[in-house]
Symmetry: C2
Subunit: 629 residues, 2 copies
């Protein structure tokens, strides 16, 4: 796929934008006129800057309110176009985007518009330029690509073609198959944007909510497939208006854009015969969480081990060459890394005790790693002692690590090569914890889409709709990335301000990270009793909660009493029942959760406010838990 | 007006919310159930807390999915209601809000619903409780207050009544006159909310965008007038779901809510005979800006005076007892306050050189002051020397000052009592500056509604629609408060992040404030020439801008050349033409503007990005202007 992006998509001043676009791997760039106007170099300077960075200027845009003007305004409109042609020639681009007229003065009429474009095509041809026509979803008369295409067809000029934009077509639910009959040489360029499905005014939606393909809910892959089926092999160019992107990191947003196009091309390549995608392995199916690794120091380890023991974990192995210890219960492995050398220690120095890495078990780690790299993931490797295992690793969005392990390395880094088993200390029962149920990442709200694209493009997962969690100090947006089998579930909480529990955690940790780990049990009451016996102190839940839960679900009073006695939260939906038990907070807001699912697939979103209120109460007044286990 | 507010409207935990609600002056509070559930005191504790603060609990809400349930679910629904009645009795409130059913299980049918309410009324009556029914705009069968009213009418029970909510009725554009025929005793309580007019899904709009009456675009005053016309004299209660409020200052949002109700009652009182409003003077008509006062120190004053002189100002008077100097040109008065005592000095200590105060000329300062205080404005007065004038003053939202002056104090604090004229230094021409055209306030985006309500409720002004200004580092929301005659124009720029020019200014100044002052001339070219002669250095505008302006408006090349030579920005709309000339930045981003209006009423929003790009360029790289005059 030939990739391009409009400068309006990202923040910054023009030179900064171009640099980030080139660095992200794009081949082309659309110059959004205002970016150029606000810049004080000449058009030639901009053109040189782009070329020096290896970028083709795919488009100069937009040229507005052109077609169908009454005679009194028509002459000036063409004069205006000639002035833009001057700029284009200086810039060194051969194409201008003309978007459908929104002026009150416009007259309408397909033939009138076609005649205008024929004349514009003539003028453009004299200079070796091309004119692309795009139907805005809110154009005054033309707001459908089928009408724009009819105008282009009647204009019947080699230098006049159609520009398709996924947002404009998909937001109006125009039949995408109508694209398949357009001759590929008449599609001059294709713009892409996705958006969350919120029913609202099209212009408002477009101006504020667009996002990268795959980040929203529109069928952009189907749209692209329809385009590819024509044989079109030109540029696919991102044109995204999004308030978050406009205030976000120039480089990160550009990188997301590039990743979104590679992923999109890969999806389309699998459906139609097209040269637009590059070969890469399938999205990696995750069959489980191999381990979660904490970075800490000796003192932090003592505290952490206390909690793990109260949760029923036992030390099972120690690393042969590093200060790394493995705790286990059921299929849950927790690694504590206090080695003074290496990445873990560096992470600890910045973030404090931190669940900085996790291993995902995939069918084929080599393939998964290859896919991740094809999707611009940053590889990670650390020196290992001779003979020890080197797991393929990648950096996640927040800077933490994801190791990829598979059946060829069944124990991952806990193989006998690296680790030595330790004698079991007595015959304590465990607490019945079985697996990692889900991993809760706290992230900056502005970066939620980045995380989402990262996980969904590399791993076989889907995203669930965003849910608002009401923290007493502000809204926290929550979204889940999960696979069909439930073997990978990541909840992402996007914090907008640092007064929320999530925001506090992120501020204190200097960045995004895992804020809590949920482990599964198949008998919550048994687990609760065993935890109690081990001295585990659950998070106290308000008694008022239980009165409501009983009334809401019509629970037997006996069950309510048991829930209340153990501080267990309850939820139920059409599928089944859900039980949640929380620990208090540890450090700046990290905590553990134990859940039992009875055919339930959600995450107890309704209970989140009660959990947050209880945690906040515990952290008050000094931001330090009163009752950490 | 008996004022109430739902706890869901503001942020914080329940005790904090109740305290802020009482402090803001509300008489009543609706307990939003989740706020109570997350709190770990008993219902009786909550009731006591409210009563100790002098608050009546007007409502317990919401009770969902009640009416029209099939037989299999009906029993449990009533059980659930009885449980809530228990809570209400403990809380000490006599009314519950039942919102129309949204459950897929609900059956519909007016008579079925009426029968359910009759039974619920019977049960409530046994306990001395009342049931209010509200039509949600997205109710499954009932989504119109007229239908809810028909159900209440057929339920025909003294303990069952209607709850009206302005958002639910106005969002669906239901004829408000339908309220006028409802008997007042059947309206149990009235909830109020406004919202900006954005066409979108009703539920999404309601959950995220509601705001205080007067802050949005819905005809809430007309709605309230219709309610008042029935003779209703119960509580008017704010129920607002707003993402900003949920993350905002608990006290400030509560205070805004109280102000919004007082203002609303005042509007309604003027239209219908009703006891709901209190007597207060009319909104104050502003006839001009009396002066702008800067707080600074001796060193800062030297710099500031240099700029003022380059702009053509002259020193005209000095204060008799304070280190305060007056500069003037045309009808523009700039006061420089370097007095080591008093508020100005305290403001300077925190914010640096700062336009911390302004005087607005009104018809009757005493009346305007009385209105401001009736609307909860905080009065301000500073000790003055014996015999000197004491101007009535109020604090504005950001903590700065607004003095109110009128014809009875024609020169305000520049009367001969306080000031002594100074000899004019030579015969220098001024620059032709005539008046303050507008005052540009930079504010936190989260507080824009607070500012808007402050100005529009006290002064005879209107707000214009919000406009997005694209700063290279993020979106800045801009909104104008102005009067019909143009004698008061305040532009507010709401910054969401500190990387924008506006956000940088606010971060460096430790708060909101006046970021630029625009002065009017009736001959921009003459003024530009005179400024040049005085050594004023205008903000350099990108040459690219002029190529576009010429093409866009079809300007004569000669005019374009003149604009470009003087770095003047140009705009035109249906009404007329606009010319803008900027200074460079001073300090952390303060600047001046000179404008000429030829029948033009806007603010050149299209030019803002070019101005911002030029200012940012000037401030780079050290955040300090390269070329301050």
């Amino acid at each position: 796929m030939k990739t391009s992006i409009a400068t309006v998509t990202i923040s910054g001043e023009l030179p900064e934008k171009l640099e980030a676009i080139a660095r992200a791997g794009f081949e082309g760039v659309e110059i959004f006129e205002n970016d150029f106007l606000a810049f004080d170099g000449s058009p030639a300077d901009v053109g040189k800057m782009a070329r020096d960075l290896g970028l083709t200027i795919t488009l100069f845009q937009p040229f507005r309110d052109f077609e169908g003007m009454p005679e009194a305004l028509r002459g000036r409109t063409f004069d205006r176009a000639e002035r833009k042609f001057d700029v284009m020639q200086e810039l060194g681009t051969d194409m201008v985007l003309v978007c459908s007229n929104v002026s009150q003065a416009a007259l309408g009429g397909i033939d009138r518009a076609a005649a205008d474009f024929r004349e514009l095509g003539e003028r453009a041809a004299k200079r070796g330029l091309k004119v692309g026509y795009e139907a805005l979803a809110w154009g005054r008369y033309v707001n459908d690509h089928r009408d724009a295409w009819e105008i282009v067809r009647r204009a019947d000029h080699a230098n006049v073609g159609l520009i398709l934009d996924s947002f404009h077509s998909l937001s109006r639910k125009i039949d995408i198959n109508s694209i398949r009959s357009i001759p590929k040489e008449k599609i001059f360029i294709v713009q892409l944007a996705d958006a969350p499905l919120i029913d609202m005014d099209l212009l408002y939606w477009s101006r504020h909510f667009r996002n990268m393909p795959g980040e929203g809910d529109l069928p952009v892959a189907e749209f692209t497939e329809a385009v590819a089926s024509t044989g079109y092999d030109g540029f696919f160019s991102l044109e995204i208006f999004n308030d978050q992107f406009r205030g976000g990191s120039t480089r990160k947003i550009a990188a997301d854009g590039h990743r979104s196009l590679i992923y999109l091309a890969d999806q389309v390549r699998r459906k139609v015969e097209t040269p637009i995608g590059i070969e890469m392995p399938d999205r990696a199916a995750v069959t489980g969480v191999g381990f979660i690794e904490f970075a800490t120091d000796e003192g932090g380890a003592v505290e952490l081990v206390d909690i793990l023991r109260a949760l029923g974990f036992r030390k099972v192995a120690v690393h042969r060459s590093k200060k790394v210890t493995l705790y286990q219960q059921g299929d849950i492995r927790i690694v504590i890394n206090v080695d003074p050398l290496g990445f873990a220690n560096a992470a600890y120095a910045v973030h404090g005790t931190f669940a900085y890495a996790m291993a995902l078990v995939v069918d084929d780690a080599t393939q998964a790693y290859a896919r991740a790299l094809a999707l611009d993931a940053e590889p990670f490797a650390e020196p290992v002692a001779e003979g020890e295992l080197q797991l393929p690793g990648i950096r996640e969005v927040g800077g933490g690590l994801i190791y990829l392990i598979d059946e060829k390395s069944p124990l991952g880094r806990f193989s006998e090569i690296d680790f030595e088993a330790v004698e079991q200390e007595g015959e304590d029962e465990d607490a019945g914890l079985l697996q990692v149920d889900h991993i809760a990442q706290t992230v900056a709200y502005d970066e939620m889409l980045t995380w989402l694209l990262f996980y969904t493009s590399i791993f076989e997962t889907r995203k669930t709709p965003m849910v608002d969690i009401i923290d007493p100090s502000g809204v926290v947006r929550s979204q889940v990335i999960e696979n069909q089998t439930g073997t990978l579930r990541i909840t992402m909480n996007g914090a907008e301000n640092r007064r929320t529990l999530a925001g506090h955690f992120m501020a204190e940790k200097f960045g995004a990270g895992i804020q809590h780990l949920a482990f599964s049990t198949d008998n919550i009451f048994l687990t609760a009793a065993r935890l109690r016996a081990k001295g585990f102190k659950p998070l106290p839940i308000s008694p008022n909660y239980y009165g409501d839960v009983e009334a809401r679900f019509g629970l037997e009073p006996e069950l309510t009493e048991r829930l209340k006695a153990e501080n267990i939260l309850y939820d139920r939906d059409e599928q089944g029942e859900y039980f949640q038990l929380y620990s208090g907070t540890y450090g700046e807001g990290f905590f553990f959760e134990v859940v039992e699912r009875r055919a339930y697939r959600g995450y107890g979103a309704q209970n989140a406010i009660f959990r947050i209120a209880a945690l906040k109460k515990q952290m008050r007044p000094e931001g330090v838990p009163k009752d950490a286990v």
